[in-house]
Each structure stands twice: as C-alpha cells, then as structure tokens.
Symmetry: D2
Subunit: 151 residues, 4 copies
C-alpha cells in the first residue's frame, strides 16, 4: 500500500470510506451525462478500495488465501439516480456497512458532487467460490468490516 500516490485508494472515514472519481469520456453517453452503469462502476471501485484499505485484496481472495478461491458478487441492488454527472466532474463515492450476516454484506453507498447527492444505493454482496456457490464471509474480513462501522 506504500505508493507514490497516497490517496489512490481513497480514505477511511468515521462512517466507512470515501473515494474520489473523475468523470471521463468513457463514463458519458450521447445524452451528455454519465451513462447509468457508470455510477455502479464507481460504487464498485469504492467497495474494492474500502476493502483494500482494510487489508482485503481481490487477488489474495482469488488466489485461495482463505482456503479456496473466493470473490465478491453483487446479489441485489436498489439504486436511485437523482441528479446527473457530466464530463470533467469530480465525484466522491461514500461507502458504509449496514449489515453483515454469515453470507451477505449490505452496504449503503452514495455518489456525490460536492455536497449534492447524485446517486444513492443499497447493495448486497455475497462471497462466492470458483463455482459461484455462496460461502461464509471469511472471519477476518467480517471483523474488519464490522469494526469500520463501529460508533
């Protein structure tokens, strides 16, 4: 995690994690605004970097560090698109833990431009093995996530 780019994975906050994201050509569509899946990609970056800053890496999970190859998979998403982002915007992605049970992790995420909320979502993710079968969230991962949400 030592890097020439200190903020590249965002920052841990009192509520969870925040990540900046720039809107590039690739994120927009012909309507002039960000294509709706762009916000979902930004949120996935936020989840990944939140985990990264807690010491959890996708590559290590996929390599079987927890006994068998594991990866995260999105199970359910409810998402409100409130305002549109456009080219050159600098956004912030907020992520916080809502619930952890044995196999599922619920997160609340928001995409903001300054103090304006552009998108709000609740995201449920599961941990699956190489066959796509649900697995318990590894204890170490669950613990670190639970602590991130402590009052």
């Amino acid at each position: 995690m030592t890097s020439d780019w200190p903020d590249i994975a965002g920052r841990l906050t009192d509520f969870g994690h925040v990540l900046p994201a720039r809107v590039y050509f690739e994120d927009t569509d012909f309507s002039g605004s960000v294509y709706h899946t762009g916000y979902l990609r930004f949120m996935e970056r936020g989840r990944s970097d939140f985990l990264r800053m807690l010491g959890v890496g996708h590559r290590a999970l996929a390599a079987g560090d927890e006994g068998e190859p594991l990866s995260f998979a999105v199970r359910r998403m409810t998402i409100e698109f409130l305002r549109a982002a456009t080219i050159d915007d600098l956004l912030q992605i907020e992520t916080r833990v809502v619930r952890i049970d044995g196999a599922r992790l619920a997160l609340a995420q928001r995409v903001l431009r300054g103090s304006e909320v552009l998108t709000e979502a609740e995201v449920v993710v599961a941990v699956v093995n190489g066959m796509g079968k649900a697995r318990r969230i590894p204890k170490g991962v669950a613990l670190r996530l639970a602590r991130s949400a402590a009052p």
Copy 2:
C-alpha cells in the same frame, strides 16, 4: 427498419419484447462470470429495441422530433442477480410495461438463459430534455407502450 438482419432488434411478444444477447469477452470479469453492470447494459439494449420496434428512436427524440431534444434517463432500479452468465452464453432479455404515468415509465425486465432466470429488475425511466429536466412522455410514445401491454 428493413434490414438484412431481420431479428437484430429482437421481437415483439404478447407480453412486450424479447431480445437475444451474446456474452462476449467485454461482458465478463476475472471472476469468470459476467460483470454485474453487464446485465444492466443488456437490459438497456432490450428497452431501446422495444422502443425501436414500436417506432420510437433515440436519434429522432434527441433531434427534437417532439418539440425539444429529449432522451430517456433511468431514475430507479431494483435488481436481483440470481445466477451468473459466462462467456459464450446466449441470453434473452424480456421487457414488459408495468406502469406509465405522465412523466415516468416502469418496466419489468428479466435476463434468461434458456428457461433459467439469471437477473430480474424493475426499472423506472423518465424522459428528460437537454438540461436534464423531466418532461411528459410524448403522447405517441406513451400510447404505443400502453398498447404493447394490453391484455
């Protein structure tokens, strides 16, 4: 719409519309399955081709055929990711109208592989002008959509 490729925009059905979609490299991620936004892109293709087969084109809307430049924007989405698709899969995207009110259109969509349901969503879309302001769904568009849902 005359074309050497008769099925390129899918088919109108008794419930609404169905569109085939192939899973290519671009749709997958390192977990081996389709990246979660892939299903949303497939669903957007289904909505666009449903409209296309009803005679509604994005380019004509954007060109101001209804008085000012208009485009569709997704407002809300609830989506369940039930089973994963993988490379080379041939999927079908089903779209049906659930509700139309003055400014919003609610659709139910499913992604299937054969008879297996992989993803289910309710999608609310609005019509917006060039400034992103909500506009009434043009009467002709609303009528054609309403008829598509007739019992």
Copy 3:
C-alpha cells in the same frame, strides 16, 4: 448453434465473416458519437463469432479442450477511425484472415455503416495459457481459419 435466433453469430462469407452490431447508449459518449473503444469491442465480437461459426468456442478453450486452459489475447492493433457512428446506427463488422503462423493470427477488420467504412484495423492475436504464456494456435483452429481464407 441451433437457436431461435439464426443470425445471432453473423454469417460466414467468401472473404471470412460478417456480424451486425447496433449502436446503443452504452457505446456512445458525450461528443454524440461512439466512444473509440466501442469499435474495438465490436471487432472483438466479430472475431469471437467468426471463431464460433468455425466451431471454436472460448469456453471450450478455457476449459482445457486443447490440453491446457487457453484464451486469445490481442498483441497488436493498428486502427484508423475514419467516420463516426452514432446512436441507433446499424453497423456491420467484417473480419478476414491475413496471416497465420505458429503462434500468431493476423486479421483485417472493418466496421461499416451500409457501404461507408467507419473504422479499419489490422489486429494480431495470440493464444496464451493460464499464465499468459504464448502457445501454438491449436492445429484444428489454425486449419479452420486457413480454410476460411481460401481463394
């Protein structure tokens, strides 16, 4: 390959293969035209469906049907973007074999809208194993590709 959608993988032609592709929201950017990587994604679909119609599937290769897990990787690309495609356009992707040697396959590809050439590319692809190491193109694959280019 039996399917309710007979043309879903395009068609073999006397020069190689042709695949239709529709321009959707996801392919465009705020400039109003297709984002430049869109043409590359269309071309990859063309290559995949050309192989598919020759009986070569990515999933079978990845499953080790040729002795070890194999996949195709792009090694070099020279691409000219001549004219822009826009939303709702119906494009055709042409693919033909230029050269096959032991480890590399060179293809010429074009994206057309009617008779207008929008994009032209030469693409060199290799076959790699799970570690990313170059492997000979499997004999059966090379043969089928060579025959597709016969005068």
Copy 4:
C-alpha cells in the same frame, strides 16, 4: 482544480504527464487479465488529465469557449500489448507530445506497472466540431501542449 485530492489528475513531468490508474473488476475479463480496451480507456484518462493540468477542459471546449462546440476525437492508434495487468494492479499512464500540426496531435503513451512496460501506443487525435468536422487545434491549446514537450 483546488481539491481535497491533490493527485487526482496525476502530475506534470519533464516529459509530459503521468497518471496512476487502479485495475478494478470492471477492467478485467474472464481470462483473468485486463480486457484490451481497458488500456485504451486508461490512456484516454491520461490524455484528458494532461490537458486538464494544462488548463484545457473538455466541458469548456464542448460549451463553445473556442467559438463553436469542440471535442477531441481519436483518428489513429497503433498499440502494442506487451504484458498483461491483473486485478488490484496499480498502473501508471505516461503521455508525451510527439507532434502538433494544425489539425492533429500525435502522442506517445505507455502503461507501466512499476518499471515494466505493459502497453505502448502512438495515438493521433484531432479536434472536431459538433458535426464531426476537423478543426484547427485552438491556438492556446496547441501552445500549452508544445511547451509541455520543450527540451
């Protein structure tokens, strides 16, 4: 450009510009590595942020700050894919000016992981108006780019 995230647009260097980019789920494909268009998206981010740090914004160009709505369009690309990036990799995108003439800008770009070069490209971009017609590169933009390349 004042921001809580000082490095969000990368840094100007003696040769031009460098931008960090993280590999996320969205960038990978089922082969386990970054999908080939991912490197092109990273390079476009590098070009955009190079321009941004020189004071040139896509939104201002599109808004007609130079007399009519303008945007950049890629005209030609030659790209070598030498080594693959994988999930969680932290990459650096280098961009330098090779040539500027009235209507075209040639750039050399590389994607690196540490000191390893993964991808190398020469990219020719043009400035186009809202109709897609080529326009002279605005004088101020050309000057700033020319200076960035000074020995």
